[in-house]
């Protein structure tokens, strides 16, 4: 006999169909192979409001227009592929349920801002990752390696816990007005990843990272608008982390 849940799929589908709603997705389309201009395109679909915006995008791609292009992988908020601007706010399409964003009105979906759009919702991530690489995002230690693990108290481990959660989705950086106006700014995500090491008791390159962030394109560009904290799908207190780096630069204590 088949796996039992599957016997009920038909019944489930019928039950699910009863609470489908009609939603309009208004998507920013751009394909330089077709036109130099970006345009808005509307798609109407029947969808369960408990489904994700990503499910809606897949429904469009799989049933209506195969050329709709976006990145995605894990579909549950861990891989960081599908950050996009949904109803004017940066979110992960796979962590945003339709019912939570007023499906009575058209749902607008645009690429994240401040990075070059390559096609539809796909942007050039290279400048973002370059800023990340520039802050020395790796543990630096000197002296002989211990034979066993380095010891770290639970309190010292907790000190940088929040910033270890970053999935490099760019929702924060691409929500930052300073970054929109000047792509040279490191941006919140790079600072978050510097913070993760500056405040790690095992690391010995805090000074170097602070000097990098003391640069004219570093932390002092932050205007504390809190867009980044609002945008973070992992709930990282991004602005607070940036403030802590600023304070460490002034006091040289971390």
């Amino acid at each position: 006999m088949a796996t039992p849940t599957m016997d009920k799929v038909a019944a489930d589908d019928a039950a699910a169909a009863s609470h489908l709603i009609t939603v309009t997705f208004r998507i920013r389309r751009f394909n330089p192979e077709v036109s130099a201009e970006a345009t808005w395109e509307d798609f109407q679909l029947e969808i369960d409001p408990k489904e994700r915006v990503l499910d809606g995008l897949h429904k469009i791609k799989w049933e209506l227009d195969g050329s709709l292009t976006f990145r995605r992988s894990c579909a549950h908020g861990i891989c960081g592929s599908d950050a996009m601007r949904i109803n004017g706010k940066n979110r992960l399409a796979c962590k945003t349920l339709i019912k939570d964003i007023n499906p009575a009105k058209p749902i607008t979906v645009e690429p994240i801002k401040g990075l070059t759009v390559l096609k539809d919702l796909v942007v050039d991530m290279e400048p973002f990752f370059q800023a990340y690489r520039d802050v020395m995002p790796f543990l630096v230690t000197t002296g002989n390696e211990p034979t066993r693990e380095r010891l770290q108290s639970a309190e010292d481990r907790e000190r940088f816990d929040d910033t270890t959660k970053c999935i490099l989705c760019a929702a924060c950086t691409s929500s930052c007005p300073v970054f929109w106006n000047d792509g040279q700014y490191f941006g919140p995500a790079a600072i978050v990843n510097a913070h993760r090491f500056i405040f790690d008791s095992r690391d010995e390159a805090g000074e170097q990272r602070l000097e990098i962030l003391n640069d004219k394109d570093g932390v002092w560009r932050c205007r504390t608008t809190f867009n980044c904290t609002d945008a973070c799908p992992r709930g990282i207190e991004v602005t607070k982390a940036i403030q802590e780096v600023k304070r460490a630069l002034i006091t040289r204590r971390y």
Binding site: M1, A2, T3, P4, T5, M6, K8, A11, D12, N31, P32, E33, V34, K61, W62, D65, G66, S67, T69, R71, R72, S73, C74, A75, H76, G77, I78, C79, G80, S81, K95, L97, L118, K119, D120, M125, F129, Y132, R133, P137, F138, L139, P146, R148, E149, R150, L151, Q152, S153, A154, R157, F160, D161, T164, K165, C166, I167, F197, D200, R202
Partner: protein, 584 residues
């Protein structure tokens, strides 16, 4: 078409690929080709931990870990490989800590450890704390730490390069790896990478199931590329169904939830695992727990109006413990189900999770062309490979371990090989297969749609070759897959462009899934016994006389171009552990 030359090429940038890259880059000119940005890989979705007998919190040793791995794999594990896995686990964890991985800590400041399914003290006496973890995001931390160290080592990545073909050249009667062919997503351009050594680390195949914890991108690309070129696939009938996926969605809820004290309950609130596994209870091996859940459901004790799921109950655990140890999975329950795990149980069902089978390798990561012959210059590690350390059922926390131990081994072995080997001459028109494949799909005017075929494939796999199988259900799947492969010839894509054509890539991925689903079903049909993740209701017992052997599936092409699968078998390596009845 562009041609590149590297000593070592690594296909895939998840845990195994990046662990290999860190070693290979130090020793040889290395390129990593990856269809996703490295930090997007599904290693990042692993939650509960990485096993190693550090004995930081209680007595433990690698021999007990070896035994648990072999028993967990229902004795289909190659015991020499399991011993290497368990022994090298300790350094693998310490390596990661030294690279910066922020493990949870004990009050003494050492790496903290917790219980996990199938891991026991002294050969099954009681659960043991062996899983080294970072909250419920251990995979995320491993992926980030490895990427950070790739940045530190200056690893060269080709991001969004999709490997579509493995190049093999016969030299003096020996098949050797010559390189790979890749498709650049951004431009549609085809690249040939000539390499002395190639390492596949491209992950699993879970997307041929509907309810799965796997990412959309886990489509068996590496397995399919090698299989198409005549290399065997080992033990593909063994697939793991993780007991606790979010009901209907399949999103993983870590076994660490039960390691922290979570309990599975049926509609009567009964802790049903006590019946099926009196000692290990909710922490029995995954195949046992998944079958127990479905037994409860089939016997009418499932939850909900359809009776089609059970509950993972965390409500008796202190909220502080959930916040500290299981923050991500409790957030998943809130986000996707609207459930508060402090006060309400979480509806779950088994979810297709992990391929135990894959490209056969020896313990150095060298790919096998048959039961004994290696393919010079070709390596594989991680879920794409079958060493076999997981046998018929992988233990939780042994996959994050596998990618680190065998990723490192393959990286070193490949780089050492490429230091002395010469380039193998590329076949004539090396890109021709990929060019034809891409052009045919792009120009096809056929009436079949990728999404329709994929959905039918996933539904037939869920219905027929999941937790319970019979000759009849497997035959139904074999016939359906044959029909879908036929219809696939008539598939077309809407996006005809070159730039970021993900429509085209989904069509190619579907072709890979169909090939591999067929191998899985045909291998499952021939294995007339029940072992680990492969459970045949018509043959409910393990049959060591006839089936204590690995399946080796080969693609054969007839003169008329039609392909078929030939099955052969390979002996299991047994060292010190005699097969026993498996009880938890």
């Amino acid at each position: 078409m562009k041609i590149h030359k590297y000593d070592t090429v690594i296909v895939g940038a998840g845990g195994a690929g990046m662990r290999a890259a860190i070693e290979a880059t130090k020793r040889s000119r290395t390129a990593v080709l990856t269809k996703l940005y490295p930090t997007r890989s599904h290693t990042g979705a692993a939650q509960g931990g990485m096993a190693a007998a550090l004995a930081n919190v209680e007595e433990d040793n690698w021999e007990w870990h070896t035994f648990d791995t072999i028993k967990g794999g229902d004795y289909l594990v190659d015991q020499d490989a399991a011993e290497i896995l368990a022994k090298e686990a300790i350094d693998a964890v310490l390596d990661l800590e030294k690279m910066g991985l922020p493990f949870n800590r004990t009050p003494d400041g050492t790496i903290d450890q917790r219980r996990f399914g199938g891991h026991s003290r002294n050969h099954g006496e009681a659960p043991v704390r062996r899983s080294c973890y970072a909250a419920d995001r251990t995979g995320h931390m491993i992926l980030q730490t490895l990427y950070q160290n790739c940045v530190k080592e200056g690893v060269e990545f080709f991001n969004e390069f999709y490997v579509l073909d493995q190049l093999i050249t016969e030299v003096d009667g020996v098949k050797k790896s010559a390189g790979v062919v890749a498709y650049e997503l951004a431009t549609g351009e085809i690249h040939v990478f000539q390499a002395k050594a190639v390492i596949y680390a491209s992950g699993g195949t879970g997307k041929f199931f509907k309810v799965t914890s796997n990412a959309h991108t886990l489509t068996g690309d590496g397995q399919a590329a090698c299989y198409r070129r005549g290399l065997p696939l080992e033990d593909m009938e063994f697939f793991q169904f993780h007991p606790t996926g979010i009901w209907r969605m399949g999103i993983l809820l870590t076994e660490g939830a039960r390691g922290e004290g979570g309990i599975l309950r049926n509609k009567d609130g009964e802790r049903f695992m006590e019946k099926y596994a009196p000692v290990m209870k909710d922490l029995a091996s995954r195949d046992v727990v998944s079958r127990s859940i479905y037994t409860e459901i089939r016997e009418g004790r499932g939850c909900g109006p359809e009776g089609d799921h059970v509950y993972l109950d965390l409500t008796h655990l202190p909220p502080e413990q959930l916040d500290a140890k299981l923050p991500d999975i409790t957030e998943f329950a809130r986000t996707y189900l609207g459930i508060e795990p402090y006060t309400d149980p979480i509806p779950i069902q088994p979810t297709a999770h992990y391929a135990m089978g894959g490209i056969p390798t020896n313990v150095q990561g060298e790919v096998l062309a048959d039961n004994t012959t290696v393919v010079p210059g070709l390596y594989a590690a991680g879920e794409v490979a079958c060493v076999s350390v997981h046998g018929a059922n992988r233990l939780g926390t042994n996959s994050l371990l596998d990618i680190n131990v065998f990723g490192k081994r393959a990286g070193i072995a490949a780089a050492e090989y490429s230091a002395t080997a010469d380039y193998v001459e590329l076949p004539e028109n090396p890109a021709s297969f990929v060019q034809e494949q891409v052009e045919r799909l792009r120009n096809s005017t056929g009436s079949e749609r990728v999404s329709v075929l994929r959905k039918e494939l996933q539904e037939t796999m869920d219905a027929n070759v999941m937790v319970f199988r019979t000759e009849q259900t497997i035959k139904t799947a074999v016939e359906k897959i044959a029909e879908l492969r036929e219809r696939y010839q008539n598939v077309s894509v809407q996006d005809k462009g070159k730039r970021f054509n993900t429509d085209l890539l989904e069509a190619i991925e579907l072709g890979n899934l169909l090939d591999l689903a067929e191998v899985m079903a045909v291998s499952a049909l021939a294995r007339k016994e029940s072992r680990g993740g492969h459970y045949r209701e018509d043959y409910p017992n393990r049959d060591d006389v006839n089936f204590m052997r690995h399946t080796m599936a080969y693609r054969e092409v007839a003169d008329d171009g039609k392909d078929s699968i030939r099955l052969d078998y390979k002996p299991v390596v047994q060292t010190r552990y005699q097969p026993m009845e498996r009880k938890y």
